[in-house]
């Protein structure tokens, strides 16, 4: 019984530490990149091109419809965000472009695999079409 407060303390410490360790780190995007204007007008052709890129490069983690339920999602350390939700759709086109291009942690950067900026903007336009 004497050890109970110590045990409680350890449990509280571990719980707090794990929350601190595993909470999603904020992804800071440089101010000029946040304000970057989408250089490709969203239309059916752009969204279709973005969808093809999404299916090839993104769907295995983010899921076919952006729910974060791709086949590889369970093996990732970072839970992929839900693209249908306001938390993601509230970001600027520039932020989505920057994050797709640069990557972080589990999320690879695609600036080498998708070298043309037009393609990345097409991808951003497709991401917008996932908004519910």
């Amino acid at each position: 019984m004497k050890k109970l407060p110590q045990l409680g303390l350890i449990v509280v410490f571990i719980t707090t530490a794990s929350f601190t360790l595993f909470q999603t780190k904020p992804w800071n995007v440089p101010a000029d990149k946040v304000k970057a204007v989408n250089a490709v007008k969203s239309n059916a052709a752009s969204i279709a091109e973005g969808k093809t890129l999404w299916s090839t490069h993104c769907a295995s983690c983010h899921g076919k419809t952006g729910l974060g339920d791709g086949t590889k999602a369970a093996q990732l350390e970072t839970t992929p965000p839900d693209f249908t939700k306001a938390a993601l759709q509230g970001q600027t086109d520039g932020s989505l472009f920057y994050k797709t291009s640069e990557g972080r942690g589990d999320m690879p950067g695609f600036k080498k695999k998708i070298p043309e900026q037009e393609d990345l903007w097409n991808l951003v336009n497709f991401m917008r079409s996932l908004n519910k």
Binding site: D32, A36, A39, K51, S60, K112, W121
Partner: protein, 328 residues
């Protein structure tokens, strides 16, 4: 001119005229140079001004895209190269496998337990549109150096309706010399293959390519006739043509097909055509193909010259290609 010449004697006038002609010819040469310089300065100035204007806005510079993309899923379509050359900085690792033919049935589980031909290959796109590679296969212990260059690319606005790529290799047979092999000198070990790949992406789902090819073996098998004359079994050179196509089922999966027709007629041992059909599955960093076909080798000249599997006798086999791509 007459006014300017007034008061000069005949000799002085002649000298002056020669000088004037020299000045005129000098001006004739200099004026275009001056004009060119002005044009260059104006162009440089305007581009700097435009660049400043672009930098001042938040919109990133978007390079105008004009070439059709993803005519095929990757470098290979079953037994052939495609018109595709990956983007600069792409390193590719290829694994190819061809099992035995079905003809023995359950005895070797439809060829899965039979002898197989395998290839491991590496390639890198060092320069824009130019890929260099190296491969090795257990078939005849051959090693290959490859070169692939995209000559022309189909444009979106159809000003260029086709993509054209040149592919070539040099292969060395590294087997130890023995009396049954046509290897006497080092040069006898070499064979070459070249092809012009002409393709069109017809729409988002369908792409087709036609590929004339030429294979060349430095040395070929031969025998002595009754009259003691050396008779080669095959020619050194061999022409063939290939047709290949892709139909996309989904963004990541396609049906692929390939037909190869030999053209050159040899004195004997003429090769058979190849029919193949399969599935292509593509992800961000992989391209995987599994198919049924007649070609049992993994190097193009070996297939084109030595294929004796006959589709009319159902001599089909299972093969697969795996490509892993990295971008540096």
């Amino acid at each position: 001119m007459q006014k300017f010449m007034h008061g000069l004697n005949k000799e002085q006038k002649t000298i002056k005229l020669i000088q004037m002609k020299k000045i005129k010819s000098y001006q004739f040469l200099m004026r275009p140079l001056q004009h060119s310089l002005i044009v260059i300065l104006v162009l440089l100035g305007s581009s700097q001004l435009i660049a400043q204007d672009t930098l001042s806005s938040n919109a990133p510079v978007v390079k105008k895209k004009s070439f059709v993309k993803n005519t095929f899923e990757g470098n290979y379509i079953i037994d052939n190269q495609t018109v595709i050359v990956p983007i600069k900085g792409t390193f590719e690792f290829d694994i190819q496998h061809r099992f035995g033919t079905f003809e023995n049935g359950w005895k070797d589980l439809g060829g899965l337990f039979a002898n197989a031909n395998m290839l491991l290959g590496f390639s890198y796109v060092a320069i824009h549109d130019l890929q260099i590679g190296f491969a090795a296969t257990n078939d005849r212990m051959q090693t290959a150096g490859t070169l692939k260059y995209a000559l022309v690319k189909q444009t979106k606005n159809n000003t260029m309706p086709l993509s054209v790529t040149l592919f070539g290799n040099m292969v060395m047979d590294t087997r130890a010399k023995n009396s049954s092999l046509p290897i006497i000198n080092v040069q006898d070990r070499f064979s070459y293959f070249s092809q012009l790949i002409i393709a069109r992406k017809i729409n988002e789902k369908i792409s087709l390519q036609v590929v004339p090819s030429f294979s060349y073996y430095n040395n070929v098998e031969a025998f002595y006739t009754d009259k003691n004359v050396i008779q080669p079994k095959t020619n050194n050179g061999h022409f063939s043509i290939s047709l290949a196509g892709r139909y996309k089922l989904t963004d990541g999966m396609s049906i692929i097909a390939n037909y190869d027709q030999p053209i050159t007629q040899h004195p004997m041992n003429n090769p058979n055509p190849n029919i193949a059909i399969g599935l292509d599955m593509k992800t961000s960093g992989h391209d995987f193909q599994i198919f049924l076909g007649n070609y049992g080798y993994v190097l193009p000249q070996t297939n084109n010259v030595f294929n004796h599997n006959d589709f009319s006798k159902s001599q089909f086999l299972i093969g697969f290609n795996i490509s892993r791509l990295w971008n540096f």
